[in-house]
């Protein structure tokens, strides 16, 4: 099976090269070659899928002749985690990269099979170039061969680290990878657009969905990682500004900027250099994230050692950066837009500010992340920056982002008159003022002015968004006569991109409120309690009711039952515990071996809409460990036949000695040993139930942290809405040609303007001017369709002089 896998991987590598070469050979529009190239990409996907199936079935069958299975799985590993164990290995995660890339490339080429004939060949070549690089690494770098076999397969594997056996760890890595990889598609099409001078918004329209999918995956991956850290790692935090976390956040921030600024190019034909640079930056950051995980260049809790593929990925980043920069510089003349931003009070200028803030934030994080290298370069000493430094810069930037997230949706495209601005800003500003006053009067939010500012601006932004939905629905009701709720649903489903985007905004703002509250107003205490004792943390009485113990073949669990009282009333019980594992892959041996492996905290969590009560325990098991040592010692003396040992013991000792000489007795001996040992282990562990020693409890009261997760889910839902194809398309009226796409886009713009006018965001005068402009542009496009050159290779940019 392994050799079949290697052969398929080799074929996949050749297919990637062939697809790229065929695409370039057919770049002048040779239909046959292009179709062949596209089908070769599909074949590449098929081959990579087959490779993954072979590896996964080896995991499912516990085939320990595969090195990857021996290293990362074992017979006892729960079957769900067996399948997820593939990407806990370096070679497996590279294979996952290739798999996601192959699927994304196939989907992108399928979606563009009838359009963009000139730039698709170049995009294909770029995507397949990246694919060939990753497949080539798997094929030619010996350390990361996924099909490496062992000559003498062991009976059982090493297994998966218990810390990683958590549901979110099954999907966290593939989510992040899918995010990283999906950015390849818009990047490849951007390169195609640059090479072929097709610098209108077509490449953006063709790949916008991929960028949004990548963004959503990356964001969800980050959220899952934060959740895992919060509930599993026993330190109570969800973000540590660790280099690898930062490496995933940076492409997400740049991707956010990209998703906003491409709208300006789509609608106004501006910011072309910016967009091309942003997607190059985003893709490079995604590669950098992959590199950081692999290289160990920076000290990180995630730096996974092996250095073998790091240099190659660094090389790829170099090629991407140098090549793209050269390409952008050589196309600068074409990229310059004849248009200018009409007014500072317009949506596009807010987008520009938001972009600068996001890029600024990325620059800060980049500097902080790579500071150890920078500092070594200048001072010769590796020095690093801790969380407070990052917070100092990212906090004000995040608050400014919220401000502009609030302003942006209230402004119309192109320009806004003072009159309409006054109308749309009145309510959100009033709401923000009320919220600020209430917070100052009735909470202690003013003790942290940054947090207070964030809450105030978040209130402004949320009220603005609510007003958007309200006036939009009201306008639709007037236009269509639908009743209220139906008008709202109709509004969202007819304008999915816009209102889906607004829902994402709501989610992100809610998430930021959760972050601000939980990081600024957290109570964090370490307390020592003996059974029966109580303590008061932030108004809650916490009583250590009793210790608990559980024993099974792989772990000891020591924990406690804690009673929580608020205002003298029992509100619930929390059960934190700590698990002590035997070394991974070992299920028998001395009792002491239970303390030789990993230990994990099972956090006692009482989530709530206002506060999370989070408690982790470090049980005091000194007495138990003493008992364990005595028991192990006793067992050893007993089977050795020391004087005064019980009869049963002597018999077991005799059996063990016989088994040493006679292999057929071994099974019987080890089952008897296990019986005796497991009984003893249970007895010793149970002694913890009578403990009077004080355990250490880390108690955290985290305000509003639940809203972080809720906000994340809202944002994800918004992204899904924005992604969902519009109704017309699903009925089969697929937007097939570019001219159609351009026409659709222009119609959408006209509809948007009508909605803004009806919602009172555009004054009658502004609307009349804008509507006339847009209709003229639409007629130009329609003329193009009539003349049959709408599908041609020439960029058709409406070159009208704009008023400034």
């Amino acid at each position: 099976m392994a050799s079949l896998g290697s052969a398929l991987l080799g074929l996949a590598f050749l297919a990637a090269l062939a697809a790229g070469a065929l695409a370039l050979a057919g770049r002048k529009g040779d239909e046959r070659l292009l179709t062949l190239s596209r089908r070769t990409v599909y074949a590449f996907s098929g081959l990579i899928i087959a490779c993954v199936v072979i590896i996964e079935s080896a995991f499912a069958r516990d085939d320990f002749s595969f090195n990857i299975v021996t290293q990362h799985s074992s017979i006892e590993t729960p079957s769900g985690y067996k399948l997820a164990a593939m990407w806990s290995s370096q070679e497996g995660s590279l294979l996952l990269w290739a798999l996601v890339l192959s699927l994304a490339a196939s989907a992108a080429l399928w979606a563009t099979r009838h359009k963009l004939r000139d730039l698709v060949p170049w995009a294909t070549a770029v995507m397949m170039g990246v694919a060939a690089t990753f497949t080539g690494l798997l094929l030619f770098v010996p350390d990361v061969d996924p099909f490496a076999t062992l000559d003498s397969p062991p009976p059982d594997g090493i297994g998966l680290n218990p810390l990683l056996q958590h549901p979110s760890m099954m999907i966290h890595p593939p989510m992040l990878y899918s995010g990283y990889v999906a950015f390849t598609v818009p990047f490849a099409f951007a390169i195609g657009a640059l090479v072929t001078h097709r610098l209108d918004a077509e490449w953006i329209r063709a790949t916008r969905r991929f960028a949004l999918i990548a963004w959503a995956f990356l964001g969800f991956g980050l959220l899952l990682g934060a959740r895992w850290s919060y509930t599993e790692l026993g330190w109570g935090g969800y973000w540590a500004w660790d280099p690898v976390e930062n490496a995933a956040l940076m492409p997400w921030l740049l991707g956010t900027a990209f998703l906003h600024s491409i709208m300006v190019q789509e609608k106004r034909g501006m910011l072309k250099v910016w967009n091309a640079s942003l997607i190059v930056g985003t893709f490079s950051m995604a590669l950098l994230g992959t590199f950081l995980v692999r290289s160990g260049v920076l000290q990180s809790i995630h730096a996974f050692g092996d250095n073998t593929v790091g240099p190659y990925i660094l090389g790829l980043i170099g090629v991407v950066l140098v090549g793209s920069t050269a390409l952008i510089v050589s196309r600068l003349d074409d990229l310059r837009s004849p248009k200018r931003i009409d007014s500072l009070a317009s949506r596009e200028s807010v987008f520009l500010v938001n972009n600068l803030l996001l890029v600024g934030m990325t620059a800060v994080i980049f500097w902080g992340t790579f500071f150890p290298l920078i500092s070594e370069l200048f001072t010769g000493e590796k020095a690093s920056l801790a969380a407070p430094w990052f917070d100092r810069y990212t906090t004000p930037l995040a608050i400014l982002l919220v401000v502009f997230t609030g302003i942006g949706p209230l402004l119309a495209w192109r320009r806004v008159s003072w009159e309409s601005a006054k109308r749309v800003f009145r309510l959100p500003l009033a709401f923000a003022a009320v919220v600020t006053v209430v917070l100052v009067l009735f909470s202690d939010a003013e003790s942290n002015l940054w947090a207070l500012a964030l809450f105030a601006f978040a209130a402004f932004a949320l009220a603005g968004l609510a007003q958007e939905f309200w006036t939009g629905a009201a306008a639709r009701r007037r236009l269509t006569g639908e009743p209220g709720a139906q008008a709202l649903v109709g509004l969202v489903s007819r304008n999915r991109r816009r209102y889906g985007g607004y829902i994402v905004h709501i989610g992100i703002i809610v998430l930021l409120i959760g972050i601000a509250a939980s990081s600024s107003f957290q109570t964090n205490r370490d307390v020592e309690l003996k059974p029966g004792e109580s303590t008061v943390v932030d108004g809650r009485t916490i009583t250590y009711v009793k210790p608990t113990v559980a024993v099974d073949a792989e772990k000891f669990t020591f924990g406690s039952v804690l009673r929580i009282e608020e205002d003298g009333e029992v509100v619930g019980y929390v059960r934190p515990s700590r698990r002590f594992f035997r070394p991974t892959g070992q299920e028998s041996g001395t009792i002491g071996s239970f303390f030789a492996g990993e230990a994990t905290s099972e956090v006692g969590l009482r989530p709530g809409p206002w506060h999370d009560l989070w408690i982790a325990e470090q049980p005091n098991i000194a007495d138990v460990q003493r008992g364990v040592r005595l028991a192990d010692q006793g067992f050893e003396e007993c089977v050795r036949g020391a004087p005064g040992t019980p009869q049963q013991c002597k018999a077991l000792g005799a059996l063990m000695r016989a088994a040493a000489a006679n292999p057929s007795l071994r099974a019987q001996a080890s089952s008897q040993i296990e019986q005796v040992q497991s009984g003893a282990a249970e007895q010793v562990a149970k002694s913890f139930l009578a403990t009077t020693a004080a355990s250490t409890f880390k108690v955290i009261v985290n305000p509003l942290v639940t809203w972080m997760w809720i906000g994340g889910i809202i944002a994800l839902a918004g992204a899904l809405i924005a992604l969902w194809p519009t109704r017309g398309r699903r009925r089969g009226a697929l937007v097939r040609t570019e001219a159609d796409a351009r026409k659709e886009a222009k119609y959408r713009e006209i509809r948007d303007a009508e909605l803004d006018h009806a919602a009172g965001k555009l004054s009658d005068e502004d609307f009349a001017a804008l509507d006339a402009e847009l209709r003229e542009e639409a007629i130009e496009i329609l003329d193009g369709v009539g003349n049959g050159n709408g599908n041609g290779a020439h960029p058709r940019e409406p070159e009208k002089a704009e008023r400034s």
Binding site: Q71, S88, S89, Q90, E232, L233, I301, D306, P372, Q618
Partner: protein, 133 residues
């Protein structure tokens, strides 16, 4: 105002803001950072200065001491003289003998005293092919 000139002014303002921000960034990062040291380099270090220590916990050296723990660390490659460390507060899950840790703190009478909440333990190396013992 002449739109050309207006654009120029805007550009200058934006660029100066960016430069100012960059200067602040560079200045604070050099002053706020703590030097990274390995245990062997710290043994003779002056007390009081804050360092970020990266080392490997010596197996079997971890002991409870009051509300905290005491243990010894050696250089990451396992060499060098062991440095005694004390730390107050709860430790992250993956913390145990043989693991690499990153801890911020300062030397006090021959021992490295870690600041609470700064102990980072490297995740079990999920991606290495060697077992980490």
């Amino acid at each position: 105002m002449d739109p050309q000139r207006k654009r120029k002014i805007r550009l200058v303002v934006a660029l100066s803001t960016a430069v100012l921000l960059a200067v602040a960034l560079i200045y604070t990062s050099f002053s706020a950072s703590s030097e990274a040291k390995e245990p062997s380099e710290l043994l003779g270090a002056a007390p009081g200065t804050s360092y970020e220590m990266t080392g490997r916990v010596v197996k079997g050296s971890i002991q409870r001491e009051g509300n905290g723990i005491a243990f010894r660390v050696v250089d990451r490659d396992g060499s060098g003289q062991a440095l005694p460390v004390t730390y107050t507060g709860t430790v992250p899950d993956p913390f145990r003998g043989g693991r690499e840790i990153v801890l911020t703190g300062a030397m006090e009478s021959g021992a490295f005293v870690g600041e609470p909440e700064t102990l980072i333990t490297k995740c079990p190396s999920k991606f290495t092919t060697k077992s980490d013992g």
